[in-house]
Amino acid sequence: MATTKEISIGDTGARASEGEGELSGETMMINVGPSHPTTHGVLRLKMELDGDIIKKCEPVIGYLHRGAEKIAENMTYNQFVPYTDRLDYIAPLSNNVAYAMAVEKLANLEVPERCQAIRVLCCELARVSSHLLGVGVYGMDAGAWTVFMYTFTEREKLYTLFEELTGARFTTSYTRIGGVARDIPEGWLGRVLDFCKGVLPVLDQVDKLLTRNRIFMDRTVGIGTISKEDALAYGITGPNLRACGIDHDLRKDKPYLGYEKYDFDVPIGTTGDCYDRYLMRAEEIRQSVAIIRQCIDQFPEGSYYAEDAKKIFAPQKAKVLTSMEELIQNFMITTEGPQIPAGEVYFEAENPKGVLGFFINSRGGGVPNRLKIRGPSFCNLSILDKLIPGHYLTDITVILGSLDFVMGECDR
């Protein structure tokens, strides 16, 4: 025979208020990462919680430190190009370009127009690739899975283009000091235009899914607000800086690679919260597409490397096999490295994540005496101990996602 048992739940609200006195005043330590999906890599946060509210946050970094700067001191300039892929591994092409330009600045070397145009394409495609992931994953961080599927499909097409151009999908290592590894393949520009045509409707879809989405806005508007003063003091750069309302984009302010020839807008935010940072990235993709189209429209003919830089850029293979002078030149560049004069140079490029800087101290020859990499994510993350306290634990995901950092260039 079945028996019935009666359970009384009572008034839960009353019970909770009874125990209130016992709960307050005590804080709890909580540890997020280093291996946690929220941290997009290996970032660790040590936090002190009062209930659901974060009182203190200490970021711990260094889990991906590989000693890139030490390695750079022990190899020739060209050999270091593959290591730059592993800084911001979401947009390796733009790192390649930034590094090559820093060394060329030290050598006082101008690359031909065609090479510059190829590099602009590389940078902007890398920006689209990085922001597509940034926006897609951000949707996922805030609980909207669908967006990621849309943007990642587009990103896959980009990888096919990168593979065609460089031979590799992720680790492109495309630039050389004084040029790029090879010219663009036949018909590639047309396929880039096709991609541009396809990505804009997807952005509209993303817009419809996220920009006025009630849940997304509730989670991001007014969360993680960075003031202008803080942004400057902490050295925040890139879309994160512009979201705070500061008009600073090196492509406009200190044009390199002939960016002054292109007509594009730099989106500027108003409040500097998570929502603004999302808007910056979404708009920057559109502007990058505009730059890519203009660039392809007026794509210059000519050489893809600096032909007169005999001691810097290795000669063409066909000539190496037939001409004595080129053979010697090739041998010297391969064994000794490109010959760069002594001096000091600091070059910054506007990368998708922020400003990537290279400081090079050279005593002449093929190997730098000191190479310092200024990773934008390193600076962008240094504000965490000020930014996070006062927020709820659930906001961590949203704030970290909105900063769009990569641990590869933070830890180097």
Binding site: I61, G62, H65, G67, E69, K70, I71, N74, K105, L106, N108, D230, L232, A233, Y234, G235, I246, H248, D253, K254, P341, G343, E344, V345, Y346, F347, E348, V355, G357, F359, N361, N369, R370, K372, R374, F378, C379, S382, I383, K386, D411, R412
Partner: protein, 205 residues
């Protein structure tokens, strides 16, 4: 930096000298006026961002360590490099800029970690990339590229396994070919016995 600004700064800080540079304006600054100079740069000359802090190890020369700072003026779009020599070659120190620019906090921790320069007055002078009780400063010129064997940072794991942090294999590692012998024998692919010129590479059906 405009010429008038530069003249103004040099007039006020007489001990400043111009530093050789391939790009931006660069200044050599003695340690004693460094913080004063940076305060003036931030408050009067509009250098509102400290973009990078690093240091040079001059190896056998003295002074051995030189702190390198890069400032940026957002309004004027100008960079400025300031170099400061550390007086002490054995235990180098520099004054901290963490009170002026918040970004200096992490940058100086990194320079301390990598170069071993202590920043006096820094609120949290500890390592940032390496673990806390790591004994060396890897970017110094006398530190070998491969690294030096040190105890494992996790005591409980080390106790059970007896493992330690080993230097990287520079010669004789699985992907490094040794210098002696013909390449057909020393190249890493020679160790792969699954296929070679005499034995055809096995392929799937």
């Amino acid at each position: 930096m405009t010429n008038s600004d530069l003249a103004l700064i040099k007039e006020r800080f007489e001990t400043l000298t111009e530093r050789e540079s391939s790009d931006h304006v660069a200044l050599n600054c003695p340690v004693d006026v460094f913080v004063e100079l940076c305060t003036a740069l931030r408050d009067e000359f509009g250098y509102d961002m400290l973009v990078d802090v690093t240091a040079l190890d001059n190896d056998v020369q003295s002074p051995r360590f030189t702190g390198i700072y890069h400032f940026l003026s957002i309004s004027k779009h100008e960079y400025l490099r300031v170099a400061v020599d550390c007086a002490n070659d054995i235990e180098p120190t520099l004054p901290t800029l963490a009170g002026l620019y918040a970004s200096a906090n992490w940058h100086e921790r990194e320079t301390y970690d990598m170069m071993g320069i202590r920043y006096e007055g820094h609120p949290d002078m500890k390592r940032i990339l390496m673990w806390d009780d790591y004994p060396y400063h890897p970017l110094r010129k006398d530190f070998p590229l491969a690294g030096i064997e040190v105890p494992l940072p996790a005591d409980d794991v080390a106790e059970v396994t007896g493992a330690s942090v080993l230097p990287a294999p520079m010669m004789g590692g699985p992907f490094v070919s040794s210098a002696d012998g013909p390449m057909s024998q020393t190249e890493p692919s020679a160790h792969d016995e699954s296929w070679n010129e005499k034995k055809i590479k096995p392929c799937g059906n």
